[in-house]
Amino acid sequence: MKFTQTINIPNLLARILLALILATAACAKLSNPEGFQTTLESFKLFPKTTLSYLTSFIPVLELCTAILLTLKNKTPQGAILSILLSLSFVVSLMWGIITKSITDCGCFGDWELAKVSPEAALLRAILILALSTLLMVQVLANKSVNTLTNNNT
């Protein structure tokens, strides 16, 4: 059985870009946990008792997802977690916009170079969700090709 490995460049770029975005967001939140907690509180979506735990849980999960995305063998896991994270951000931002309870996304904390409106932050979250979904579709397509190749050999 001949084994050839080709580098899937779009897949690699998508993984690196997503990993960078998630790692930056995680570090920004971890550098100012009080600010992130204030932003989470303004969403009025979570019980107050869970806020302090969410303040650490979300960035740690983002960081783990970023690490998974950099590992080729763990790309499906990273893509799924990325989809779940960005979906939750999209839903939270939509809730914040509808209830007019937020003025600041808090996605990148104090590391945002310019103030981003909630609507712009929602668009950004949707783009990240789309990128994560595309990556997952690519991974599934590659796996189907590999399964077919294994069946034929």
């Binding site: 009080e34 600010g35 650490s56 999960l61 998974l68 104090d110 170079l113």
Partner: protein
């Protein structure tokens, strides 16, 4: 069969990551709570009562800036607590940069300059940032009673400047 094994492996990995993140976040939160208790005990001695931190509006800040130079003497110090890179990108006029991460060094070397000030104004990036409150509390605990916080931060100042330009003259 291959697909079933992969799905099981993937879902096990995801569950492991989520549980690990949960445990790490629990440890971080408990650690932070312990640290806060220790630092509050250090900053506040039994004989000191914590004074409330006063805030200032954009209009009042503008007035102070306009009247700041009284003859040859500067009467108000404005402190920007953000990191230097953000200060370089833009700051409130007349503000000096003392990142909260370097505040200890500032207190040791340049505190003399604050002693003659009528007012010390502290700000950071935006409403959700509390570095300005932290520094204000530290200064208040050192004996400065003329410390106020510009709560909205640099974001509120930019909005204020924008609204001034839109108003007809």
């Amino acid at each position: 069969m291959l697909n079933k094994i992969n799905c099981r492996e993937i879902s096990q990995d995801i569950l492991a990551i989520v549980l690990s993140s949960l445990i790490i976040s629990l440890l971080l939160t408990k650690g932070e709570e312990l640290k806060n208790r220790k630092s509050t005990a250090t900053l506040l001695s039994p004989n000191t009562t914590e004074l409330p931190i006063r805030t200032i509006s954009s209009g009042d800040l503008q007035t102070l800036l306009d009247n700041n130079i009284n003859g040859n003497k500067i009467t108000t110090t404005i402190i920007d607590t953000r990191e230097n890179i953000f200060y370089q990108l833009g700051h409130i006029p007349q503000a000096i940069n003392v990142p909260i991460s370097e505040s200890e060094k500032f207190y040791q070397t340049t505190m003399q300059t604050l002693k003659g000030m009528e007012k010390i104004i502290v700000y950071c990036a935006r409403q959700s940032c509390d570095d300005s409150e932290k520094m204000a509390k530290q200064l208040t605990n050192m004996g400065y009673t003329n410390v106020v916080v510009y709560k909205g931060g640099y974001d509120a100042w930019k909005d204020w400047e924008g609204s001034k330009k839109e108003q007809p003259q």
